[in-house]
């Protein structure tokens, strides 16, 4: 049987470290919510982080050693953009893109190109 004391202390330490990264801004900057710099970050940071997350995770979803590098992820990504600009229905865009990606990955039909 594995060491339960080790496991439970491990979970406690990992939980504290993770919570620390989330709570620190609230502890140190709580009194500065009206500061123009905080407002500036509040206005622009979410958009920048969203574009960043989309870029990183889209890149990681693709096979960049294929004949057409990354097309297996970029194609469903473009489909999400197109459908979202067309209907602006988040669930529809996400479902269509995910279905396209799953089809491409499971059938491997882009592999031949």
């Amino acid at each position: 049987m594995a060491d339960m004391t080790y496991l439970l202390s491990f979970i406690a330490v990992a939980a504290i470290a993770t919570f620390a990264t989330r709570v620190i801004p609230f502890v140190f900057f709580e009194r500065h919510t009206e500061h123009p710099l905080i407002k500036h970050l509040g206005r622009y940071l979410p958009a920048a982080v969203m574009a960043l997350l989309a870029t990183v995770f889209l890149t990681r979803s693709g096979n960049w050693n294929a004949a057409l590098p990354g097309l297996d992820a970029v194609l469903p990504g473009l489909l999400v953009v197109a459908i979202h600009l067309w209907r602006r229905n988040a669930l529809l865009s996400i479902a269509a893109g995910t279905a396209a990606y799953m089809t491409i990955q499971q059938t491997g039909f882009l592999a031949g190109f």
Binding site: I16, T18, A20, K39, A48, M50, L52, A90, Y101
Partner: protein, 234 residues
């Protein structure tokens, strides 16, 4: 309210169940601990990449200092998320601790992008439920994965693309709300630079540091040119 929260969080359900399962399967196949420790980690730690890293740390029998440093560094991007939610969470009372605890990439994305009404307490209640729903999906995924172990039979390959698609949709929504492409190009460029220069485990935090630095310079330049941008962006 729960129905609209469910609709809002549905893409996260499609992302979190398979990702949580991936973690659960990894946990069950790599380690000799009881299955319930996997959902317990989902309840107490609640961090996707962090928990997957935790499996290799557990397998290696890492020391507590090492565990703390590794988890802190890996999740350090969350330091920056709180900065843009200081005002939004203010006065949320007892809910606030949980809102902060549950601030994952995906929850942050939803909370900062969804349209908000003037009733602050109502909106915080919605935020609270979004956070709770998301964590439920994650914990359920962890539990299913750990119980199934390596006997996963159905082919859900690729379903985790739901999270990528969600980030794309939220990026478009952010653009429509801001009507300013600058932060988006900054974010995408920072991601590109980080992916070229850094190892996968440092790319997210590296890109967020670059983005924050650019926004600081951007702020100083707006201030120096005499534009009172900060004051206008209430």
């Amino acid at each position: 309210m729960n129905q609209s929260v469910f609709r809002l969080t549905l893409p996260i359900l499609f992302g979190y169940i398979p990702l949580g399962m991936a973690f659960g399967v990894l946990f069950a196949t790599q380690l000799d601990y009881p299955w319930w420790a996997a959902p317990l980690m989902g309840v107490l730690i609640y961090a996707g990449a962090g928990q997957i890293l935790a499996v290799s740390l557990l397998a290696a029998g890492a020391g507590m200092v090492e565990v703390f440093v590794a988890m802190f560094v890996l999740n350090a991007r969350h330091l920056f998320y709180g900065l843009s939610l200081l005002g939004q969470f203010r006065g949320a009372g007892w809910r606030k601790a949980y809102l902060i605890f549950g601030l994952t990439d995906e929850t942050y994305s939803l909370l900062t992008t969804r349209p908000r009404g003037p009733d602050r307490h109502h909106e915080q209640e919605v935020d609270f439920r979004i956070t709770g729903f998301n964590q439920c999906y994650w914990v359920i995924g962890c539990a299913i994965g750990a119980l199934l172990g390596d006997n996963v039979a159905f082919d859900s390959t690729g379903i985790e693309f739901a999270l990528v698609a969600l980030f794309i949709v939220l990026t478009i929504e952010q653009y429509k709300a801001l009507k300013d492409g600058f932060p988006l190009w900054t974010g995408a460029a920072a991601a590109g630079i980080a992916m070229l220069l850094l190892s996968p485990s440092h790319q997210l935090i590296g890109a967020i540091v670059i983005v924050t630095a650019v926004l600081l310079v951007h702020y100083r330049r707006l201030k120096d040119t005499g534009a009172t941008e900060g004051a206008n962006h209430g």
